[in-house]
Every structure is written in structure tokens, then in C-alpha cells.
């Protein structure tokens, strides 16, 4: 996703979830900052480099693609931009090596999403923002993996855009070119994507490069064949996915604010948390995982349920949101900003990457953690550690392993 959704739409969702204007701005800033917090930026301000939540193109060009380098790349991209949907997915007649990459495919409503939101509970607004970025990207970047892999992330050259013309769906073949500096031509259907690279672990095979910017355009509906799909075609409906992402963000932030009703066990009885935490199964179906306990010992257990969306927001603002999402434009920042300002009655300032730099740079060593960027860094390290640990626990070494500190200790 782009700045229009990560910053402005997240602001709108945060405000609708009940956060104040200032809190919503902090959450939105953090959500967008995930796309900009690179090692280059962190070294510029003297911050720990392991808090990087993205890699710049120049950094990726220099990145190693041996096992250590691949683990480093996967830790960043899988934790923040391509959260795996099912680390225990099964596919018959596939090697272990293939399955380790297949299980990193991103998608919404996975167990890791629940853990991501749970991980942000009781933490700073910056951590909430990070969680919202990750949540939103699970919808946009679904079907791609946050690890360089030709056999997973490659696509057939036949891309078809599905256009709505006078109420009818029309198919138009997409023409791809390899010109990173040229803007996509929406009118003529000419888009930029990454060059085909036959090397399995080439950095060009990371994420959705082969699909160009299509996953990040909220208006786009398209059909293509992914390399992992066994010749199945996927029809991606971004407006519907983005709408779900927005509604889920509102639900998630209401959960994080503590506004939701305590969850029920499969027996329909509220549980008193023993403090150890547990997984909840049942309710939606025998053995189906629907959430994890949030550990507040002695209190009624509240857990984040995946697959839940704030229907109230969609009922009230759905038409307006759909109007923004379906408008064919390279970036919808203006429209989301206008919506946000209408909701809150305040001016939504434009994103400025340098806004909090001085605060961090001038802070004392002990005071850095209390700054905006300091809190963001703690959230990022926590998120990265959690995801790396979960991937490692599943028997997958693609992200290496982390010395996971207890989430409470980082709170």
C-alpha cells in the first residue's frame, strides 16, 4: 500500500475507532513510517539498525543473497509488509525447501495477524501504528511472499485488468515495461514491473515486483497467474480488499483501546484469564483457531478475532470509502485527507519524515526510548522478534531466529 492508505486512511480509521485527532496522527505517522524506516535513515540519526522496517532500493541492490542475507531480508519484509498467513500450510508433493517459502505467502486473517495485534495491546501508539501497517498490507500484498523467491513470487506475463465500463466488466490486457522512473499510464494500461530474473533468490523476486504496483492501487481489479498457483488464475479485487482492510483496522484499534466486549470460549462462557494465556478454539467451528487470549490475570479474557470487521463504520461511511477506493488515480491521498478532515474537523498535516528526527537525535541516551522514534523502534523490534520467532517455531529457517524478549518486558 501507499501513503494514501497507510497515512491518511489509517488516520481516518484511528479517529473512527475513537482515538483523538493527535493520537490518530501519531498512529498514522507510525503506520506510514514503517515504509521509510530504513537502515540508512536509522544510521543517520544514530538509532539501532536492527529496528529497520524496510529496505531502500539501494540497500537491496547491495544486499547479500546468501543464507544470512536472505534471512535478513525475510525478517524485515515478512514481519512488516508480507505477514505470512499460514506458517503450517500443506501442499502435496512438494519438497521441504519449496514449502518453507510457500508458507511465507502473505494473506489476511492469519494467526500471525492476531499475534501482531495482540502484541500491540497495552503498548504505545507507535506500536499500534506498526500493527495497522502490517494489517493493511496483509490485504494488499496477499498472494506474495516477503522473501526473494522466483517459484513463489513470479507471475505469468499475461496480466488482465478488469475495468468497469458503463456498468459492465471489460477485460484489458496489461502492458508491462521495465522503467522504474516512468509513472504508470492508467489510461493506456501501461505499467512498470520488475524484470524477470531466473535466479531463484534474486532480490528482484522479492514481494510483488512482478505485478508492479497493482497490489498498491486501491482501484485496481486484475487477473493473473502466480507461480505458486499450479496454473490457477487469481482475480484480485483491491477495492473490496481495501474496504475490508479499513474496517478491520477500525475493529483492531477498538480492540486495542479496550472497547470491545470480552471474548467467549467455545462453550459460550466468558473465561477468567489464568495469566498464562491460551489459544481459543471452536466457536466458529471445531478446532478452528479464532483468537488468542490477552493476558490480564484475573480479568475477563479479551482476544482479537480475525475475520471481524467494523460493520458500523461500513454502514455509515461505506459509500464514501468505496468512492475513494474505486477512483482511478495513482494516489488517493487528497481524497483520504479530505475525508479525515471532515471526520475530525482538524487539519491533517502532511507526512514529514523529519518531524521527529531532532527530538530523537537531541535526546539523552536514557531519554531516547521516550521519544516518538524511540517508541517506534521498540515496537518495530518487538514486532520483528515476534514474527521471526513464530517463523522459526514453525520449523522454517528462512527468517533465522531471534532472541525473543518477553513482550511484557518491552511494554
Amino acid at each position: 500500500m501507499q501513503e494514501d492508505f497507510h497515512y491518511y486512511a489509517t488516520y481516518c480509521a484511528a479517529y473512527l475507532a475513537g482515538y483523538s485527532h493527535e493520537e490518530s496522527l501519531e498512529i498514522a505517522y507510525s503506520a506510514q513510517f514503517v515504509d521509510l524506516c530504513s537502515r540508512t535513515f536509522l544510521s543517520k540519526i544514530g538509532a539501532p539498525l536492527n529496528a529497520a522496517t524496510t529496505q531502500l532500493q539501494l540497500e537491496m541492490m547491495d544486499a547479500r543473497t546468501d543464507i544470512i542475507g536472505l534471512q535478513d531480508i525475510t525478517r524485515i519484509w515478512a514481519a512488516f509488509h508480507f505477514l505470512p498467513q499460514d506458517l503450517y500450510a500443506q501442499k502435496p508433493r512438494r519438497s521441504k525447501r519449496y514449502m518453507q517459502k510457500y508458507r511465507l505467502i502473505c494473506g489476511p486473517n492469519g494467526d500471525l495477524l492476531a499475534k501482531t495485534v495482540e502484541n500491540a495491546r497495552g503498548k504505545s501508539l507507535q506500536h499500534v501504528g506498526i500493527a495497522m501497517h502490517v494489517l493493511a498490507d496483509t490485504w494488499a500484498h496477499r498472494y506474495f511472499a516477503g522473501t526473494p523467491s522466483l517459484v513463489i513470487n513470479n507471475t505469468e506475463h499475461d496480466f488482465v485488468e478488469l475495468l468497469d465500463v458503463d456498468g459492465e466488466q471489460v477485460e484489458r490486457p496489461v502492458k508491462f515495461r521495465h522503467s522504474p522512473t516512468a509513472a504508470d499510464d492508467l489510461e493506456n494500461g501501461i505499467y512498470t514491473n520488475s524484470l524477470f530474473q531466473g535466479n531463484e533468490n534474486s532480490i528482484m523476486n522479492l514481494g510483488h515486483g512482478r505485478a508492479g504496483h497493482f497490489p498498491d492501487y486501491s482501484f485496481a481489479k486484475y487477473r493473473y497467474m502466480p507461480a505458486w498457483g499450479d496454473y490457477q488464475e487469481i482475480e484480485k479485487d483491491n477495492p473490496a480488499d481495501y474496504e475490508k482492510a479499513f474496517a478491520q483496522m477500525v475493529y483492531a484499534m477498538k480492540f486495542l483501546r479496550g472497547e470491545l466486549e470480552p471474548g467467549a470460549s467455545s462453550a459460550g462462557v466468558e473465561n477468567i484469564c489464568s495469566g498464562r494465556g491460551a489459544e481459543v478454539r471452536g466457536a466458529a467451528g471445531e478446532g478452528e483457531r479464532i483468537g488468542s487470549y490477552s493476558c490480564i490475570q484475573g480479568a475477563r479474557c479479551v482476544f482479537f478475532r480475525t475475520g471481524k470487521y467494523d460493520e458500523e463504520v461500513l454502514d455509515k461511511y461505506g459509500a464514501r470509502i468505496r468512492e475513494i477506493l474505486t477512483k482511478r488515480q495513482l494516489i488517493a491521498s487528497d481524497d483520504w485527507k479530505r475525508f479525515g478532515e471532515e471526520l475530525s474537523g482538524h487539519t491533517v498535516e502532511d507526512f514529514d519524515i523529519e518531524k521527529y528526527q531532532e527530538q530523537y537525535v537531541n535526546a539523552t541516551k536514557d531519554g531516547k526510548d521516550k521519544t516518538f522514534i524511540g517508541k517506534f523502534i521498540r515496537g518495530a523490534i518487538s514486532q520483528k522478534g515476534m514474527v521471526t520467532e513464530e517463523i522459526h517455531k514453525s520449523g522454517n529457517m528462512h527468517a533465522g531466529f531471534s532472541k525473543l524478549k518477553r513482550v511484557r518486558a518491552l511494554g
Partner: protein, 168 residues
């Protein structure tokens, strides 16, 4: 909502796309094998231990003009070989991409398959130079690969037609 379609129609669609891809890749493979045949012949004449005269078994007493005519004939034959490969390959690719409906190229592909398979036993002729065993092994493997590509391409083309009929 996003859809990954399920059910019989989509299964057929998947299989159709799979065979389509096989035909396209087979076509590209045939073109590459054709180029390789040319390169192999030229390399064996220019860099090999035998001259063209030795390769063709020409009596050294024959005049140079005869050799000149033979060279011209060899070049024409090489060009025809390349055209043969290119025709099959390009036709297969166009057929796979839906740009061509005629499957006449399969006749030529079948002929090439027969010729290739029949030529393989010739590599094991006892009169061949035993020092060129490595070349023989590689040539056999290449010819086997080409035979497989041709067979797969022919089979996949027929399967494409059959599935298309099933899909209606």
C-alpha cells in the same frame, strides 16, 4: 472479493493453461535445439579434429570446385534445418498463444521426432572414433531431450484441443 475459482471448469482451465505452457516451452526448446545443431556442426568443422572433407568422406583427389559445391549444399541444408526447427517452434508458440489455429506444424514435428529417434542408434556405430565418446554421450542426451520436447509438444497440443472441446 478476490476469487480463486474452484470446481470442474476451473480445473479444466488449469489443465488447459498447463498444456498451453508446455506447447509454448516446447516450441522455444525446438528453436534452441535448431540453433544448437547449427553451432555444433560449425564448431565440429572449425574446431574439430576432422575437416569437412573427412566428415563427408570425400576422396582427397576430387577437385576443389567439387568441394565448393558441397559446401554450398551443406550451407543450404543447414539453413533448411534451421528453417524446419524455426517453423515448428514459432508455430507452436503461436498456437499456444492463440495466434494460430492450424496444427499442421505437428506433422513436421512428428517427422522430426521420427528422424531424431532413428538417428540415435547411429551414435553407437562401432566404427566411430572411441576417443569421441564424450561427444557421443552429450549428443545422445541432447537428441533424447529434443525427442522428449517434441513428444511433449505433440501430446500437449492434442490435450489442448481435447480440453477445449470439453470446456465447450
Amino acid at each position: 472479493m478476490d476469487t480463486i475459482s474452484k470446481g470442474n471448469v476451473e480445473d479444466l482451465g488449469c489443465r488447459y493453461r498447463k498444456y498451453q505452457k508446455n506447447v509454448e516451452i516446447g516450441g522455444k526448446a525446438i528453436i534452441i535445439f535448431g540453433v544448437w545443431s547449427i553451432i555444433k556442426f560449425i564448431a565440429s568443422v572449425l574446431l574439430g579434429q576432422q575437416s569437412l572433407r573427412d566428415l563427408l568422406g570425400i576422396d582427397p583427389n576430387y577437385p576443389e570446385q567439387f568441394m565448393f559445391v558441397l559446401v554450398v549444399i551443406m550451407i543450404v541444408l543447414l539453413a533448411l534445418t534451421m528453417v524446419w526447427h524455426a517453423y515448428i517452434g514459432v508455430s507452436a508458440i503461436k498456437y499456444a498463444q492463440g495466434l494460430k489455429k492450424s496444427r499442421f506444424f505437428l506433422v513436421w514435428a512428428a517427422l522430426m521426432l521420427v528422424v531424431t529417434v532413428c538417428s540415435i542408434p547411429g551414435y553407437f556405430d562401432p566404427s566411430n572414433n572411441p576417443e569421441s565418446l564424450d561427444t557421443v554421450i552429450v549428443s545422445v542426451l541432447v537428441d533424447l531431450s529434443m525427442s522428449f520436447s517434441l513428444l511433449d509438444m505433440i501430446y500437449s497440443s492434442f490435450m489442448m484441443t481435447r480440453i477445449k472441446r470439453q470446456m465447450g
